[in-house]
Each structure stands twice: as C-alpha cells, then as structure tokens.
C-alpha cells in the first residue's frame, strides 16, 4: 500500500507541474509539453492503481489507449503550430489574437 501512495505522490506532482506549465508558458510548444505531463500523470495513476491497488486490468489497457491518443493529439497539435508559424512567424500563443475578444 505504501508503494501505491508513493506513485500517487509522483503523479500528483507531475500533474501540478503540467498544470503550471500550461498556465504560465506562452510558447505553444511548451504548453503542449505541459499537457503531455498531465496525460502522463494520469497514466501513472492508472498503472499504479492497477498494479498495487489490487484492481482489474483495465487500468493497464486505459494507459495504452492514452499513449496512442496522446501521440495522435501531439501530431495534430504540432502540425497546427507549424501552420501558425508559417502564417504569423510566431509560436507565441498570445500573439495569435486576430480574433476579437
């Protein structure tokens, strides 16, 4: 049980770091890195619960799904950031503000 708690601490720290990154970073790619941290925090949770919490195998399965979908999402997000760079010569999220607030 102690082992489980250790993993949960790690994942909570990772999640907070990811959240911090998304909120403070203005570079589009750094924001995406924050999101990846959040996804991996959730993954650690799933695997830890599944392995040490005495639960069924769906935690492992879930983390595999997350890995695949995170890759797909990162590919699309990077493609969009490249398009932004091509048209505006910046990857700063705040500089992209043609649309009215």
């Amino acid at each position: 049980m102690d082992q489980l708690v250790n993993y949960l601490y790690i994942s909570a720290i990772l999640f907070s770091l990811g959240l911090f990154g998304v909120i403070t970073r203005r570079n589009g790619i750094a924001v995406l890195m924050g999101v990846e941290l959040i996804l991996n925090a959730a993954n650690i949770n799933f695997v830890a619960f599944s392995r040490f919490g005495g639960m069924n195998v769906s935690g492992h399965v879930f983390s595999l799904f997350v890995i695949v979908l995170a890759a797909a999402e990162a590919a699309v997000a990077l493609a969009i950031i490249i398009t932004i760079y091509n048209s505006m010569q910046t990857v700063n999220v705040d500089d992209a503000s043609r649309l009215k607030h």
Binding site: F15, V35, L39, A42, N56, A77, T83, S87
Partner: protein, 496 residues
C-alpha cells in the same frame, strides 16, 4: 457480448468506416477542382448508415465486452448526428471559403468525426468515453483550421487544440481518480460501487467529479469552460461552425445524461421512475448553478457582438445552458425535454448558420452592417432568418418555443426547489430577445430598400427550406417529435 458477435450489431459504424476509407481512396483519383465530389460519396455512406441504424429496431445490449451499448437512446442521437452532418455536407458544397483547397480530406475527416460521435453517444466505459472524446476533438481541431491560408482559421485551430488538449488531460486525471476510488472503468460497476458507499462525501471524489466536468463541459461549451467557443466559431469555416454548434454538442449532452444519470444516480429514472442520486455530493445543485451561469454569460456577451457569427457562437453557449437546466431535475421528463430541445435546436441553429454562410459567400464578411436591407433585397433569406431568430428566442409559433416549453415544464414539475432555475431561464429568454431581434431589425428597417430582388441559388434555398419549414411546423404540430423521443427513451441499464 464478445467482440466477434458484436460485429453483427455494429453495421452502422462499419458502413461508416468503409465509407471513410473509400472516400480517402476515391479522393486520390480526383483532380483538385473536382475533389468536392468526395462529399457526395460520404453523404451516400451516411445515408446507408442511417438505414442500418433504423434497421436495428429497438435492441438493447452491450457490445465489445461492455465497452459500448446499443440502445434506442443512442440510436436517437446517432440519427440526429447523421442528419446534421448530411445538411452540413450539402452546405459545404456551396461554401466559397473552401474554394482553392483540396476538399477530399475535409469530407473524410467529417466522416471520422461522425464515427467518433457514434462512439460517444453509446459509450458506457471510461475508456471508450475518453477514446470517443479524443477522436471527436482531434478531428474538430483539423477541420476548424482547414483554411490553411487564412490566419483567423489558423488561430482558431490553435486555440481549440490548446483548450481541448488541456481539458481532456484534466478529465483523464479525474477518470484515473474515479478508477482508483471504485476499481473499475465501467459505468455500471462504478455505479454499484457508489451505491455500496464509495460515493461518500470525500475530497478526492469531489475533485474527480469536477475534473470530469471540465472535459464534458468543454465539449458542450459550458461556462466556465467555454473560452474556446467564440474564437473557434468565428475563425473556423462557416459550415464547420454550424456542425460544431450542433453535432458534438448533442454527443456531449448524451454523454452528460449517461454519466450523471447512470453513474451518479441510481439509474431508475432512465426507466421512467422517480429516483435519487447515489452519492452525497450535491451534483444536481452544482449543474443547476453551472447551467444558470452558462446561459446568463452566453446571453449577456452575445448582446455586445458586432459579428453575427460570433453572436451565434455565444447564443449556442446560452442554448447549452438551457439544455443543462433539465439535467439536475432528475426525472425522465427532464431527459426527454433535452432530447426534444436538441431536435428543435438542430433545425433552427443550422438554418441560421446557413443564412450566415450565404451572406458570407456574397459579401465576404459577417458583421451586422452586411445584413442591412437584406430583407428587402433578398426577401426569402430575410423571412427565413426571421423564422430562425424567433425560434431561437423561443417564441410561439415556432419549434424553439416547444423545445423551451418542455424544458421549463420539466423544471417546474420537479418542485419548488428548482423554481429559481426556471426564473433565471425565463429571464435569459427575455434578454436573448434583444439580440435576436436586432438581426431582424437590421435586415428590415436599416439600409436602403433595394429595387431588385435576389433569390439564393437552388442548393442553399433547399437547405433553408428544409430547416425553416420544420422550424415552423414543429411549433404547431410537434406530435411526431414527441413520439420519436418517447420511442427512443429506452436505455440499457443493467449488465446481466
């Protein structure tokens, strides 16, 4: 049911898969100027798929090892999504914004998006919920940024992808906590665990539910997770805006209903009895407050908009609020009211966006000034837009009134603890009157009366009539909609 047996009940989705693959190959053989014909290919696939859905009649069973279910409730939403997509495909053929781009992928991606929505409305497992939300989100990111040479479209895709990735990440973390608390990812098993006492009021559980609300709320643009909505709606191609304002919202609401009434409630309401929540967490009150916040903010900000497209974006936020109003009352009437409202909303909202599309094709912009004198210059467009605006406000004799009537009726019926909710709903409807009628005023009272009269071209005219006539008709004779909703109000509720 195991995987192999499930396939025989999975025809609509299989047809859709084959259609998308076929569309990608078909696109290879077409020159760029003719690539929009892929749209008709996908249209045909959707039609076949809808026949397959109707042919399934009213079976209820789980498929693929309890990952998704097959039930009339899901079929209702699938048909709703298909009809919205079919209308959007026809409209996309006329969309001048897409000229100069290769359009094959546009329609293939739309097909995949529909597949994701099918999965979304029928999922009863956290894994399939996450999978479907991501499929829908990723496809929406690409589609909203489809106009590669348009900076506004690029920017809308960037904002969408950042908000979308972030909120689905937070939701995922919440799901991992739920898994940790209950030991399962299946809705029914989670429900059993909650009934058994895991749902006692504790901090982790509250955090987990709030985190899941982030992901779900983002999908239907619920306040305070609505920030992406106006920018994405304004920058995306108009046809995609129309699609996003209807289809994923319907899918998200189906998810809301399934999750909150099945996992967080004891589920008998889905069979038409009165019921209770099975946690001490006051989630109905939470959602009620969020619903009020959603519609109030949507309406108040919509008042100040200069662009009609952006105004309609905020109005769609407000409508999400009206629909959410019927969720916390915990009754089968409430869920049926949401379903009725969605049918009406689909017609009137798509119609309004088609008018915006046509005006944008002609003038290249979508501000209120472009609409001055429109009612005299293009009488059909003016009259039809007036119908949509009256209907969106919710005045009789239009479909919007019937939708709102059922929502309010279900809220009032739930007893005095929800009267305040109905009050705020009514207050908001009055506020919305102002900005919807501003459109009508600009069209008929501002600008010069033109001597010439223009008619929209045939496909657009057809689309406008297909959405406007039912918008009026269902305000007078809405029995068919009620019948359809009652027939579809049948859920899969128990794993044997």
């Amino acid at each position: 049911m195991n995987n192999l047996q499930s396939l025989s009940l999975y025809w609509p989705e299989l047809i859709l898969t084959v259609t998308v693959l076929g569309a990608i190959i078909f696109d290879l053989f077409l020159p760029k100027e003719k690539s929009r014909n892929v749209g008709w290919f996908v249209f045909g696939g959707l039609l076949l798929s809808s026949f397959a859905i109707i042919g399934q009649d009213s079976q209820t069973t789980t498929l693929f090892m309890d990952a998704i279910v097959l039930d009339p409730f899901g079929q209702f939403f699938k048909l709703l999504v298909i009809s919205a997509t079919a209308l959007v495909i026809i409209a996309s053929q006329e969309n001048n914004e897409l000229k100069g781009y290769s359009q094959g992928e546009y329609y293939s991606l739309l097909g995949i998006l529909v597949f994701g929505l099918f999965l979304m409305v029928s999922s009863v497992d956290l894994i399939s919920v996450y999978l479907s939300l991501e499929v829908v989100s990723i496809m929406s990111f690409i589609l909203s940024g489809y106009l590669k040479n348009d900076q506004r479209s690029n920017e809308s895709a960037l904002k969408y992808v950042i908000y979308g990735a972030f909120s689905s990440g937070v939701m995922l973390y919440g799901m991992s906590l739920i898994y940790g608390i209950t030991g399962s990812t299946n809705f029914f098993e989670i429900q059993n665990q909650l009934v058994g006492g895991s749902g006692d009021y504790n901090l982790i559980f509250v955090i987990a539910i709030v985190m899941i609300l982030v992901g779900f709320g983002y999908k239907i643009s619920m306040v305070p997770f609505h920030f992406w909505t106006p920018d994405v709606y304004e920058g995306a191609p108009t046809t995609i805006t129309a699609f996003l304002s209807v289809a994923p919202k319907a899918g998200g609401l189906a998810l809301f209903i399934r999750f909150f009434h099945q996992v967080m409630g004891d589920g008998v309401a889905l069979e038409g009895n009165g019921y209770l929540t099975n946690t001490e967490l006051p989630w109905p009150q939470m959602i009620a407050v969020l619903a009020v916040a959603t519609m109030t903010l949507g309406n108040l900000v919509a008042l100040q908009q200069k662009s009609i497209k952006r105004m309609l974006a905020y109005s769609s936020v407000a409508h999400a609020g009206y629909m959410l109003m019927a969720l916390p009352v915990l009754s089968s009437d409430g869920i049926q009211a949401i379903m009725i409202y969605l049918v009406m909303y689909l017609l009137m909202n798509l119609g309004a966006f088609f008018v915006v599309l046509y005006v944008k094709n002609r003038t290249g912009s979508e501000t209120f000034e472009d609409y001055s004198g429109l009612g005299w210059n293009m009488p059909i467009l003016g009259i039809v837009m007036t119908i949509f605006m009256v209907s969106l406000t919710g005045l009789p004799p239009t479909a919007g009134f019937i939708g709102k009537f059922y929502i309010f009726a279900s809220v009032i019926k739930a007893g005095s603890q929800f009267y305040w909710l109905a009050f705020f709903g009514a207050f908001n409807s009055v506020v919305s009157l102002y900005y919807y009628f501003k459109v009508v005023k600009v069209m008929f009272l501002d600008g010069e009366k033109s001597e010439t009269i223009e008619f929209p071209n045939k496909p657009i005219l057809g689309l406008l009539l297909v959405t406007a006539i039912p918008s009026l008709l269902f305000g007078i004779y809405w029995r068919p909609v009620i019948k359809w909703v009652e027939y579809s109000f049948h859920f899969f509720t128990q794993i044997l």
